[in-house]
Amino acid sequence: MRLADDPEVADFRAEFSAFLDANLPAEGEARDRSRSSAHVPDWARRWQRTLFDAGWLLPGQRPEFGGRGATLPQQLAYLEELARRRIYHSFNPQGLGIIAASLITFGTEEQKRRWAVPILRAEITAALGMSEPEAGSDLASLRTRAVLDGDTFTVNGQKIWTSGAHDADVLLTFVRTDPDAPKHKGISALLIPTATEGVVRRPFGSIAAADDLDFNEVFFTDVRVARENLVGPLNEGWRVANGSLGHERTLLWLSFAERLEDLVQDAADVGAGQEWYATLLMDLQALRLLGYRQLGPDRDPAELSVLKLLGSEAVQSASLHALEAHGADGLPHPAGTGPYHHMNNEAFISSWFERYARSFAGTIAGGTSEIQRNIVAERILGLPR
């Protein structure tokens, strides 16, 4: 245990810092805003490609996939440097972190060439089709059906909460390919181009605004998908889902740490002298410490549930305190509550209400807090199911 960075991490951090200083897009170039998690403005596509070419897009990957074989602590340092400057490496985070990452792990060489690299180079964007109206927390009960006949699947069914689907070129879709198998064993992963006949996407507004369009319903009616778009073996989609999300989960806590850090800055005035502000500082410090610890070898993945609970609930609690601390000044909406950063203006354009409301994404998406508590109780504390 020690406070200082490992020299390997310190050097890595310094190198990336220097790269950012030399290559960040100027404010004038970065005017167009991203309107969904799969909409990437032209300047941001150029930025993502610059990172890819330099091996700074997904540093943990090999060079042909925009990386440099970085260790986990180095990847953390990389993300911290981005967060400190409030910038993103991509405006299609799931495309990069989940879909391209899954293809690199589970895909064929052809799939990597045809889909993963273009996603990484921001030539196309991707969205993730997992949840369904009847399959949320109980994801493995999904019912969207894919029937294989010769070399073609025919897909029928519906997804929901598919972030950015209306702006995405391709969906990594989890479908039921064997309805007779136990529910975890009859699922497969398919790449479905959104332009395919029979795919209908309907974006709908969030609690923040009617025109805040990121969520989608996606309907599949007799959609024909070539067998070559199957990712991983037939009926092993659950393994793909766990593998791809697992990668994302290891560092998911960092996104909560970033939000807490933003709150530390943006709520400093109303938080002065308030005990909840001290709790916010403590939550942030504790989350970082437990997150760093999780980078060590042989960690139990169930401990990630502790991090998600702690992080997501701390963000929620601090956001509510910040909203309440403003009293009637918390009413204006839309309103800005953070400084302007040309590559990340989320706080700049979000009211305190919106920041509080959005904190529920943390306690609902990616396994609700209730599910996380079950995981902690059953897998860590050994309570009976």
Binding site: E275, A278, M282, A286, L290, L383
Partner: protein, 287 residues
């Protein structure tokens, strides 16, 4: 930074855990001489936090905490026998003052060490029957200064974390065995979720306690802030763990016969001593 216990520290924790379990129930002076003989009092801050967590787990009756985290940081040495210190400017509720061989007094002119036998001291009955707290009376007004060592706060935090872990373990054991409505209590979600929250609170407080010990070990400029964080987090943790633990234990936890009471009281006492969670949240904001 790197936030994992190294192999030596993990080994130390295992050894301490085993030793404490082995000497448990033996006469107090035997426990005390065992700990001294093993050199635990000389442990550096992080290792000391690990030891104190295990002693907190066992509701330790010896003067270890006061000797290692009250006397030692004030004087820069270990006492002959046991020691404690008066550093709150009042001499009230001084840990182990009634049985310490040496007492360090923080005065406006510096630290003065007095043999315990020469001080007029009155033990005060407190909620934790195993804890020695005493009023140091023979000190003139204005003769004492205030300066609570970071290590004293960290030591109480580590002790509280240990006590909370014990409360959780006892509670888990209870809800796994106790069957009602044909099912173990622990299979009900309302019970699971409280247990999970206890675990998260303990992890949070323990992380901040280790961080505090680490900043002391490296004499990092954040050490005083880190000590406030650790003490506040341990207090918040005990508040939740006490409430959920006693609640989940049902009526059994409400009895004198059940050992749960000792750990609830140790945890509660650690919060009340040297400033509650609320006091340290305020101190953190002011620092």
């Amino acid at each position: 930074m790197e936030f994992e216990l190294d192999e030596d520290q993990q080994l130390l924790r295992r050894t301490v855990r085993e030793t404490v379990a082995k000497v448990r129930g033996r006469p107090e002076d035997q426990q005390w001489s065992t700990y001294r003989r093993l050199g635990w009092l000389e442990a550096p801050p992080l290792e000391l936090a690990l030891i104190l967590e295990e002693l907190g787990y066992a509701a330790d009756p010896t003067p270890f905490l006061a000797t290692a985290t009250w006397f030692a940081p004030l004087t820069g040495r270990l006492p002959e026998g046991s020691g404690t210190a008066v550093f709150d400017g009042t001499g009230r509720y001084v840990l182990d003052a009634d049985r310490a061989d040496e007492v360090a007094l923080l005065t406006p002119d510096g630290v003065v060490v007095v043999p315990g036998a020469e001080l007029a001291v009155r033990r005060i009955p407190v909620l934790d029957p195993n804890l020695h707290l005493a009023q140091v009376e023979a000190v003139e007004a204005g003769a004492l200064a205030e300066g609570v060592p970071d290590l004293a706060l960290t030591g109480l935090a580590a002790t509280a974390v240990g006590a909370c872990r014990r409360i959780l373990d006892l509670t888990l054991d209870h809800v796994k065995r106790r069957v009602q409505f044909g099912r173990p209590l622990g299979s009900f979600q309302a019970v699971k979720h409280k247990a999970a929250d206890m675990h998260v609170a303990i992890e949070r407080a323990r992380a901040l306690t280790h961080f505090s010990a680490l900043t002391i070990a490296e004499d990092d400029p954040r050490r005083t802030r880190a000590a406030h964080m650790a003490k506040a987090a341990a207090g918040e943790c005990q508040r939740l763990v006490f409430r959920h633990g006693l609640q989940l234990f049902g009526a059994m936890g409400f009895t004198w016969e059940n050992e749960l009471q000792y750990h609830l009281k140790r945890a509660q006492a650690c919060d009340l001593l040297l400033g509650t969670a609320s006091a340290h949240r305020k101190a953190l904001l002011a620092s």
